[in-house]
């Protein structure tokens, strides 16, 4: 159905589904568990079985990045993680220089393990700071305080991490513009290479959705975003995606692969994957069991996949745009054909409409959202929505 010349780049995502406490804004697949209670050894076993089961689907393909996310994967002991890393190296085509990221929370216990993580080959740390203000962290249900956050960054640097991301949120309950900017200043003082500066969003199925906190008004949130952007730029951070800012050559390879509509294998409870089947000309999405116990029970067999969806033409164009148009510089126009297997002419009418409305610029070389289009990305993407939204066909 789609005509692919070659495989897209491939990433690996590994999900760890536990946290010490569930945050009221979080809608990821994470489950609260007491310290030391996570069945880490059994879970690592399950991940290995799951990976082995998936190997035929990605046979011979080289990985460009690995991301271990969660939940709180930094709850894993160094030994458990080391066992996982050894299996990855023995089973997969992994070069030593590829980006391997671990999500870490700034709790004291985790920070002690940073050196060990670095030694086993993890070379990028994404630290979920969110804020440096104790009172804001409490409102967000985080278990760390501002000092823990600073200490985590310092320890990560001491452990030899040169590639550190700090997640920072703005638009927090009762937050003032000064408070938001102050958080950003503290982050910049510690010289990370990458900062995710993103707005708190109230998602369905969260505590905040049921009991909405009082958030700053639209004008204040806009000011936070804009002033934050200026401050980041003054510190040599370049925005390359809606919420992602990086020093030169420090952008995230893994996330960029999502945004460029690359392939990714997702293993672990509730993990999502997207793979291109060049030979049969199709793109499929995979979702795994999200409850940790049933995941562990079924890992290693087909039953671990709860949903497998083959994308149709309309899905593919829309989903490509949903990712690619998040990038401030857009993409090379040729990437559309490479990644979707469809000629760009299938969205000619939509591109022209978007261009006419000043939301997008494109020619044969480049395709990128305008500053206006980036600001109203949801309106821009509406243009690429299938006119009758049919559900993707289930296999």
């Amino acid at each position: 159905m789609f005509d692919f010349k070659q495989n897209p780049p491939l990433s690996l995502y590994i999900h760890f589904p536990w946290c010490l406490q569930k945050c009221p804004y979080c809608d990821f697949n994470s489950h609260a568990i007491a310290a030391g209670e996570a069945p880490e050894s059994a879970y690592i076993d399950a991940l290995i079985r799951d990976l082995e089961f998936e190997l035929p689907r990605i046979w011979g393909r080289r990985l460009i990045s690995v991301f271990i996310g969660g939940g709180t994967p930094s709850l894993l002991s160094a030994q458990a993680l080391d066992r996982l890393m050894s299996v990855l190296r023995s089973h997969l085509n992994i070069h030593s220089e590829i980006e391997i990221t671990l999500e870490a929370n700034p709790g004291a216990a985790e920070a002690d393990r940073f050196a060990a993580y670095r030694q086993m080959g993890i070379n990028r740390l994404s630290i979920g700071v969110q804020s440096f203000a104790d009172e804001k962290l409490k409102r967000l249900g985080r278990i760390h305080d501002g000092d823990n956050a600073v200490k985590a960054i310092v320890m990560a640097q001491a452990a030899g991490f040169e590639n550190i991301n700090i997640d920072l949120m703005f638009g927090l309950p009762d937050q003032t513009l000064d408070e938001a900017i102050s958080d950003l200043r503290i982050a910049l003082e510690h010289k990370p290479g990458h900062i995710s500066w993103y707005q708190l969003t109230i998602e369905p199925n969260t505590v905040f959705y049921k009991q909405p906190p009082v958030l700053p008004d639209d004008d204040d949130i806009w000011a936070m975003q804009q002033q934050g952007k200026v401050l980041l730029q003054e510190s040599a951070f370049k925005q390359y995606e809606i919420s992602a800012y990086a020093l030169p050559k420090q952008h995230s390879v893994h996330n960029t692969n999502y945004w460029q509509f690359g392939d990714y294998l997702g293993i672990g409870a509730g993990a999502h994957g997207k793979l291109t089947d060049v030979a049969n000309g199709m793109i499929s999405r995979f979702v795994r069991h999200r409850i940790p116990d049933s995941y562990m029970q079924k890992a290693g067999a087909e039953q671990v996949i709860t949903q497998q969806t083959r994308l149709n033409r309309a899905d593919v164009s829309l989903e490509f745009m949903m990712n690619a148009l998040r990038l401030t510089e857009g993409i090379n126009t040729a990437l559309f054909l490479q990644r979707t297997g469809l000629p760009i002419s299938v969205i000619d009418a939509q591109l022209q409409d978007a261009e006419k409305r000043g939301l997008l610029e494109w020619d044969i070389e480049k395709l990128k959202p305008t500053a206006f289009g980036l600001r109203y990305l949801n309106d821009l993407l509406q243009i690429f929505m299938p006119s009758e939204s049919k559900q993707p066909s289930e296999l």
Binding site: S196, I242, H272, M322, L377, N378, M385
Partner: protein, 598 residues
């Protein structure tokens, strides 16, 4: 024939008409317990949901009276809402008697009064029946007094019942057999049958509900539709028991259905006379007065690709609704659609709901308007049912608006509120007198003021106790102007309205304020102006949305972000793109929401 009783039930909404019909069906064994579904006569889902009757229906029942005789009772159900009064007059013309059902607690309501007068005019025997007699708040004496004073019917032998519990219903059956006369007519004369209603059935084609006045209708014979002169073979006749039950013949005095080969509803017009092809009657029956739509609105598909489907749906709906009028309309702002004429606001709501529900269409409806009579400077008279089509100011010598007479019945406690409302609506008092605990009021009010929200307001200022009926009086000259709405400097034709000059300033201000409430913030700043000609009366500005973007889109789960986009898209389903601005349905109806807080 002497054992046939044809009668209608006249009642206000909620006074228990359909429940009583159900009780009759049960007592006469028309349906068994299992088949009994509450209010079997309201067959449309919409009717059952709203608890109203829209179309006339009939049911034929066999009743074994105490005198040992079996009677054939034909009940013609009638709609209770003012919009559908024409259906009532049709139903009544098929009957010799009528039951006037009055809620024993609430008393007489204006709608029933109007229908009852129609029944009396048609020479029907009217039996007053007090329902809900088992309610603690029932006041039979007071209500009987009201019936006598307002309607002038002797209520001394009114029958007291509770349709809900069944109390008094057997006695009512006995009384109606005794008091309502049997039909008269000549079985041997040439056929004359009155078409009470016609509807389109997907399997049978056109089905007509008829009352046989003279002669008989027999399967296999040929009949003639007198107005068209067309002949058709009679495929099927029968009665509703209430199940459709076919028979060989419908005789003089009977009420039943007829199926012929008629494919189009206009081939069997309501009020027309059926006769025999072989020996046709000399004169047709008097028939009914033609009904005219009174309220007009433009209906436009949100997605212009569904225009064809919309046109087909209207054609199908009009098959069963002779009162629905439609013609193509083109709007600069809304594209291709139809100008539709309705009997009233309820009729309009029902049509819109049926189009959306039964035909899965997404529609934008413009604010309802009445029809205006305009005399041009050239001396011509034109009728304008669309504000956008009002001739230029310098071409108009006079605009005349339709005036109606509103007959209102209201308990004394609320009279002050009701009078204040009528004055606000530019009403002129014609009559006021006391009857029992109620006051009977007559006002002449511009219809324009009534279609908007009069009925809702009347209900709310009287806590639901006031009732009203109206009839057209005349066209009357008035100081009317066209109020335009400009969005980002562009005149949106579909938002224009005709208002009285004295209130134009205020209406303009209120309209722009309401529009500001209804139009969501968008990518650009939006200005809303109200203007008469080139004179701007009011202006509001909707600030641009700061941004519309999902902050974080990490992880491989794209489905959640997609759901968000789909939700936003669904939100736009009832919005129409005018230039670069998305205008939601509510904004087109903003006129219905103004003038309430004064």
């Amino acid at each position: 024939m002497k054992n046939i009783r044809n009668f209608a039930i006249i009642a206000h909404i909620d006074h228990g008409k359909s429940t009583l019909a159900d009780r009759f069906i049960q007592l006469c064994g028309g349906l068994n317990e299992r088949e009994m579904q509450d209010q079997v006569l309201d067959s449309m889902d919409l009717e059952r949901e709203r608890g109203i009757t829209i179309k006339a229906q009939s049911v034929s029942l066999n009743y074994k009276a105490k005198n040992g005789e079996t009677y054939l009772l034909n009940i013609i159900d009638t709609p209770g809402h003012v919009d559908f009064s024409y259906e009532v007059s049709r139903s009544l013309s098929a009957c010799e008697g009528a039951l006037l059902i009055v809620d024993a607690a609430q008393g007489v309501e204006a709608q029933s009064v109007a229908n009852c007068f129609t029944a009396i005019d048609n020479g029907l025997e009217v039996l007053p029946v007090l329902n809900k007699i088992d309610l603690p708040s029932a006041e039979p004496d007071r209500v009987c007094q009201e019936i006598e004073e307002i309607i002038g019917v002797d209520a001394s032998d009114a029958i007291l019942i509770s349709a809900k519990s069944g109390q008094g219903v057997p006695e009512l059956l006995e009384q109606l057999v005794k008091r309502i006369p049997a039909p008269q007519g000549d079985d041997n004369s040439p056929l004359k049958a009155l078409i009470i209603d016609s509807w389109f059935d997907n399997y049978l084609g056109v089905v007509s509900l008829v009352r046989v006045i003279d002669g008989s209708i027999e399967v296999g014979k040929k009949l003639r539709v007198m107005s068209t002169g067309q002949d058709y073979e009679i495929n099927e006749v029968g009665i509703f028991t209430p199940k459709r039950t076919s028979k060989k013949i419908l005789r003089t005095g009977e009420v039943g259905y007829v199926v012929t080969g008629i494919k189009d509803i206009h081939g069997a017009p309501v009020g027309d006379t059926l006769t025999s092809s072989k020996s046709p009657a000399a004169e047709p029956l008097p028939g009914f007065r033609k009904i005219k739509p009174r309220v007009f609105a433009g209906l436009f598909p949100v997605d212009s690709n569904t225009y064809e489907a919309f046109r087909d749906a209207l054609a199908k709906l009009s098959l069963n609704d002779a009162a629905l009028f439609y013609e193509p309309e083109t709007s600069q702002a809304l594209g291709f659609g139809f100008r539709c004429g309705f009997l009233g606001m309820l009729h309009m709501e029902i049509i819109q709901e049926r189009l959306e529900r039964e035909y899965d269409l997404s529609l934008i409806t413009t604010a309802p308007t009445v029809i205006y009579q305009v005399e041009t400077t050239a001396g011509e008279i034109v009728y304008v049912d669309n504000p956008a089509k009002l001739p230029a100011v310098d071409k108009i010598s006079e605009i005349r608006e339709p005036i109606i007479r509103a007959d209102i019945l209201v308990p004394q406690d609320y009279i002050g509120n009701v009078i204040a409302l009528c004055i606000e609506k530019r009403g002129e008092q014609k009559k006021l007198h006391y009857v029992g605990n109620q006051i009977s009021l007559s006002y002449e009010i511009p219809m324009n003021e009534v279609v908007l929200d009069f009925f809702d307001r009347l209900k709310s200022v009287s806590r639901g106790y006031a009732s009203f009926d109206y009839s057209f009086v005349q066209f009357q000259a008035a100081q009317l102007v066209k109020l335009d709405i400009l969005i980002n400097g562009e005149r949106i034709d579909a938002l224009s309205c005709i208002v009285h000059k004295d209130v134009s300033q205020r209406r303009g201000r209120e309209l722009t304020e309401k529009m500001k409430e209804f139009i969501p913030r968008q990518m650009f700043e939006i200005s809303i102006q109200a203007a008469i000609g080139s004179k701007v009366l009011a202006k509001q500005v909707i600030k641009a949305l700061r941004k519309n973007v999902t902050a974080k889109c990490y992880g491989g789960d794209i489905s959640r972000k997609r759901k968000l986009l789909e939700k936003q898209k669904a939100g736009k389903k009832r919005m129409k793109q005018c230039g670069s601005v998305q205008i939601p349905q509510e904004a087109f109806m903003a006129i219905l929401h103004v003038g309430r807080d004064n």
